[in-house]
Subunit: 431 residues, 2 copies
Amino acid sequence: MPLRLDAGSPTFERDFAGLLAMKREVSEDVDNAVKAIIEDVVARGDAALIDYTRRFDRLELDAARLRVTEAEVDRAGAACSAETLSALRVARARIEAYHARQKPSDDRYVDALGVELGHRWTAVEAAGLYVPGGTASYPSSVLMNAVPAQVAGVPRIVMVVPSPDGALNPLVLAAAKIAGVTEIYRVGGAQAVAALAYGTATIAPVAKIVGPGNAYVAAAKRRVFGQVGIDMIAGPSEVVVVADRHANPDWIAADLLAQAEHDAAAQSILITDSPELADAVAEAVERRLSTLPRAAIAGASWRDYGAVILAKDLQAAVPLVDRLAPEHLEIECEDAEGLAARIRNAGAIFLGSHTPEAIGDYVGGPNHVLPTARSARFSSGLGVLDFMKRTSILKCAPESLRELGPSAIALGRAEGLEAHARSVAVRLNLG
Amino acid sequence: MPLRLDAGSPTFERDFAGLLAMKREVSEDVDNAVKAIIEDVVARGDAALIDYTRRFDRLELDAARLRVTEAEVDRAGAACSAETLSALRVARARIEAYHARQKPSDDRYVDALGVELGHRWTAVEAAGLYVPGGTASYPSSVLMNAVPAQVAGVPRIVMVVPSPDGALNPLVLAAAKIAGVTEIYRVGGAQAVAALAYGTATIAPVAKIVGPGNAYVAAAKRRVFGQVGIDMIAGPSEVVVVADRHANPDWIAADLLAQAEHDAAAQSILITDSPELADAVAEAVERRLSTLPRAAIAGASWRDYGAVILAKDLQAAVPLVDRLAPEHLEIECEDAEGLAARIRNAGAIFLGSHTPEAIGDYVGGPNHVLPTARSARFSSGLGVLDFMKRTSILKCAPESLRELGPSAIALGRAEGLEAHARSVAVRLNLG
């Protein structure tokens, strides 16, 4: 049975704090192994990639076969069902349309002193996209990671994906083509991350690495951060559903289970002011579980990390949601908009009863790469800005330097940085 | 003597790669010490802060004295010169005006299928600002870190600053007041970072930590990342000046030294197509060094990490600049604008001969917290967006769900996530 918390209970604050502090991930300590792999790739390049691929993926490669050919990609596409390819194209178009609106504007202006100011956005020169192998290899994630990079204008979008025993998911290759990936390499693990960050003879280095992966991949991303940019380290997925007595308990149960089927460490939470809804949802979850293919995973997630929280009223749910800072937040109640406007911390909000979170996973348009583990308190879902960076621009004329100079000189001297002061003063004939 | 590289030389590519690979920082391995300090602060809260402050800052505190009082801040302000305070106010106003234009817009629209989409930006609930003690305690950095947070709308801006032997820099306190910092605590080091991330009885936790610090502070920020957001880990400062024969060699020398005086590990590089300018700048640097208060530091930086690069022409400088990805880029040549437009990687660009980089350090308006160590390839200077996060919004009506649903169901099934598919199908009476 999942946790049941009642805001009226004297132990509620303690219980809720316990829910917040719940650790859903065992962090494997693979850092030493990863450090050695990275150093080896830096030292030996392609030869190291080939060795690790033999060892971890049981696949014999040579440098010429690291790259997946266009012909292979086309064959993969031909092996996919027309219905799925069409759905991927729908998804791509919608993700592209949504993200195109995120493209930032440059700014340039002259202020009252005549100083020219502004900023300019540029795309990173190359982005690397890690795609896991095996069961966690999702074509939708290929779209969600690659399309924003393409919208940003990144000229090289490089995908790495392990092919255990030589197998590659055809849908992942098809999605890569649909998403505009420009190069694909059949390597995975920490060695692939190292190759993207430092480059080898075959794989030119990138400036930014995104995409999910196992503990080795996560540790490698942490290690190469600084050499390249990285996205967030994603944790297990989570959803909070806020609902009132008008909501459909069976639909909510379906949404809680969609989240739970991802991973036994996923978390699904219902917050409601209706004890009747709480009971009905809990019952519907059990009923639906019995026919789910991934019932073992979803059931474990719901039992170990699920929670039903009874709040005094829905306004009282707002601070609870902000403390949970969920990756996904569904609001299924009267005045869902009004409630959403009061929430500070959530990765993505799904409004109303006809917006199941799964729509957002695939074809809504917004990104499904979202901050987990309460990091929505300080971070955002993946977007176009993650593949761009801003350069500030400043230009003084002699007159505006004369206006600003004395303040800069004063501050330079107050900070004991005389050479700073002099670099201004010399231009004003002040010394 | 600094490095001198000539693009016409057969060894140029190797020499330039060597310059790029130059390590300017010895990374101290303090991670185990920092781990223990963080765990202690999590376990013992204020008591741990008090113990570490006694040990590292030689200062006896109790919990009530951790916080710097308003009266202390006011006394500090009264001890500062009117000229410096006025310069700080000029700086604050200009930083605020520049950053106000960075405030992002929310977006909300309805697409052709009737799907409502958008995103909403919210400020983080609280930001922590680390300010170093002693000589690296710069009031300008207080403004540069706190003003963007205030512009973002962050309600709590919490500053921590060590006070070795009880001493606090009055200018830093005055700057904090001018910048709108809401709380100040006299703690520093990894213990202060831990307190900001996890909270103690006296210091409520924040969601984001920014600001420079020593190796312990940097290691602590890396460790608490995930629990809170952090800004970049700043390395030694650097400038690249691109100039032609029309530029003033004495002014350029002054700018190279302003960068060099920060730190013996700072780096100043001149790229020019004029051998005469290269010689004149090198001479002017030596002449100026002889009268600088921080000549030892600036001289060491110039000797060990400085470089003069002769390029065939200024267009040939563009790819060199992009590979260096400098924190600061000054362009002092004809058609500086045209050249700037071709640069992809730079933290901040200073255009023309009357824009010394030091103006940008203090009163230009743009932020002086900028990506170092080639990270301008993938990251931006500090700004308002660093204190905000974006929540995506999605709302389907029954009709638009009917349009989108089949694609989502197809992709859910293609990915083996049947509960995803069913959460959509159940709303469409499809099962």
